[in-house]
């Protein structure tokens, strides 16, 4: 307990009244529906509605359901690529647009970067459908690339904003000191800026990943034959029945993310 929560001081200058309780309440509220979801994935009954006893049948069904497995894997791959590209690109853009005196075009860059946030997905979806379709017809190339491009695009603002927020809170003294010591710009970035910026980059990457994983509308319009993702698969199910296989898949995704977290934790523990 102590290791997790830190030592209690008599007067903790970090303590604000009520904050810990609110934070704890948030965590509980966040996880309560998830736990229900996990419980129901073991439900014997076919309908998410009624509990009918413990069973692994939905996991087996999901495993045998090629379509849903295929869709899930594609979603994960897509989210990974989109998060990777958008975070790298957003980090560069954040560095180029923050902590500098205003230059011409800065506002335009800001506008462009934030614009995917503002436009309703249905609009981007339709616009991309038209533009990409024309390109697909002209070039005959119909690969996965379009989806990755589309996802990377709308993930950029989600990655950018936390990185920028982080960057704004960092003053330049350390970096200036490094420059004074004749460190190259690259060295300064790698050794000083990047480690300091890292929490922001991580936050941005995780946001981008999650946003991509969830995207329905844009994917629905951009996808070509055989490019089903998990959310579009579920959207198709919305009008019929949502089978508990989806619950099983979601629980598995949760397990995977827990695994990733533990792995990361072990790796970083080793380093310190």
């Amino acid at each position: 307990m102590t290791a997790l929560f830190g030592k209690r001081k008599k007067f903790s200058l970090r303590h604000q009244p009520g904050f810990t309780s609110i934070a704890m309440a948030c965590f509980v509220l966040l996880y309560a529906p998830i736990i229900i979801l996990v419980i129901y994935s073991f439900n014997e009954g076919r309908y998410i509605a009624v509990w009918e006893g413990f069973s692994l049948q939905w996991y087996i069904a999901a495993w045998n359901n090629e379509a849903v497995i295929d869709a899930t894997l594609r979603s994960l791959l897509l989210a990974f690529l989109a998060a990777l590209i958008s975070t790298v690109v957003a980090t560069m853009a954040a560095i180029g647009t923050t902590r500098t005196s205003p230059y011409r075009g800065l506002t335009s860059i800001h506008t462009l970067i934030n614009q995917p946030l503002i436009v309703p997905e249905i609009v981007t979806g339709v616009a991309l459908l038209i533009v990409f379709a024309a390109v697909k017809v002209a070039t005959g190339f119909q690969g996965f690339f379009y989806l990755v491009l589309a996802h990377a695009a709308f993930c950029i603002p989600f990655a950018y904003l936390p990185i920028r927020a982080r960057l704004e809170g960092m003053d330049k003294t350390l970096e200036t000191a490094a420059a004074d010591l004749y460190a190259s710009r690259w060295m300064t970035f790698r050794r000083i800026t990047l480690p300091l910026l890292w929490p922001g980059i991580l936050a941005g990457a995780m946001l981008a990943f999650v946003i991509s994983l969830d995207n329905v509308v844009i994917t629905e319009f951009v996808k070509s034959a055989g490019q089903e993702t998990l959310p579009t698969y579920m959207l198709g199910q919305l009008r019929r029945v949502i089978t508990p296989e989806i619950n099983a898949i979601s629980t598995v995704l949760l397990l995977i993310s827990l695994l990733v977290v533990s792995l990361y934790f072990i790796v970083t523990r080793k380093r310190t």
């Binding site: 998830i34 609009v123 695009a153 950018y160 979601s250």
Partner: protein
């Protein structure tokens, strides 16, 4: 002269850094929007799509409507109602996620450094599951036969279930649930850098906890708060799944209205015009918001 050169080099470098992002955005986000702009000036096709014929109709229909039965022209009251509904929902969501998210971010930021990433991941893990599933999970909690009602009845506090589902409260719960990490993560990113020496100095000067919070901490993490508010307010304007599943779908959200035009409404130009209007309004609001907070930061320094 030399400093001019340095400055020019710096500006060029900054531009170069932003270029990859701009290329991706122009090709897959902003660029295609030009198509939307063009479409808003065309005529709707018979079964959807557009006919390449110039028309102001779409733009006129955004603001004015012709009554179906007596042909009087009036301000498009339906559009305004829907717009107002979406905007107020988004504002409320932003406020609620801030009230919940600020302490949460603070909590995570004040954990021992080696544990912070763990807490961060814990916040985002629920969001590895799908939005639809999460919304249905919230449904399970609040419906008449759901967890809350069953528990309350079992404890004897109430006799018949409280109708939470399909109310505006349900929508708020759902929206907060969906958008909470978008508020927490940016604020955390800002807060993690917080120099508690400043906080300690404030306490040394006999400031109360509240004053410390308001006068020292909040201004220092303002960039995070700004980022978080944008990340919640703006996307929530385009939401439609949560309001429909939890709110019952009886009232259209902005996104539904636009979707209707591209779907059964068969009026792509109107959908395009509505979107451009939305885009313009939000951009103006954003610019005002960012300029005001930047000014505050400049003066406070």
């Amino acid at each position: 002269m030399a400093s001019d050169q340095l400055r020019k080099g710096e500006v060029r470098r900054n531009w170069l850094l932003s270029t990859p992002a701009l290329i991706i955005l122009l090709s897959a986000a902003s660029g295609p929007l030009l198509v939307v702009l063009v479409y808003s000036f065309l005529t709707p096709g018979e079964y959807g799509g557009v006919v390449w014929q110039f028309s102001w109709d779409a733009w006129i229909s955004v603001i004015f409507e012709r009554d179906i039965f007596d042909d009087t022209i009036s301000i498009a009251d339906a559009h305004l109602t829907i717009l107002w509904r979406s905007v107020s929902l988004s504002l409320m969501t932003t406020v609620v996620t801030f009230i919940l998210g600020f302490p949460t971010a603070y909590f995570i930021a004040t954990r021992p450094p080696q544990n912070r990433n763990l807490w961060l991941f814990l916040i985002t893990i629920p969001f590895w599951t799908n939005l639809l599933i999460r919304t249905f999970a919230v449904l399970e909690v609040i419906r008449n036969e759901g967890v809350i009602n069953t528990a309350l009845i079992a404890m004897g506090i109430i006799e018949t279930p409280i109708q939470i589902l399909y109310t505006d409260t349900a929508i708020m719960i759902g929206m907060t649930y969906v958008y909470l990490p978008l508020m927490v993560l940016p604020i955390y990113a800002s807060m993690e850098r917080l120099n508690f020496n400043l906080v300690e100095a404030a306490y040394d000067l006999y400031a109360t906890r509240l004053k410390v919070l308001w006068r020292v901490i909040v201004p220092l993490v303002k960039p995070g708060i700004v980022a978080g508010s944008i990340l919640v307010f703006v996307p929530s304007l385009g939401t439609f799944v949560t309001p429909r599943v939890l709110g019952g779908g009886k009232k259209l959200m902005l996104s539904n209205l636009i979707e209707l035009q591209f779907g059964s409404g068969r009026n792509w130009p109107l959908g395009a015009a509505l979107s451009i209007t939305l885009l313009a309004m939000v951009m103006v609001a954003l610019i005002i918001y960012i300029r005001t907070t930047q000014r505050d930061q400049a003066t406070s320094k």
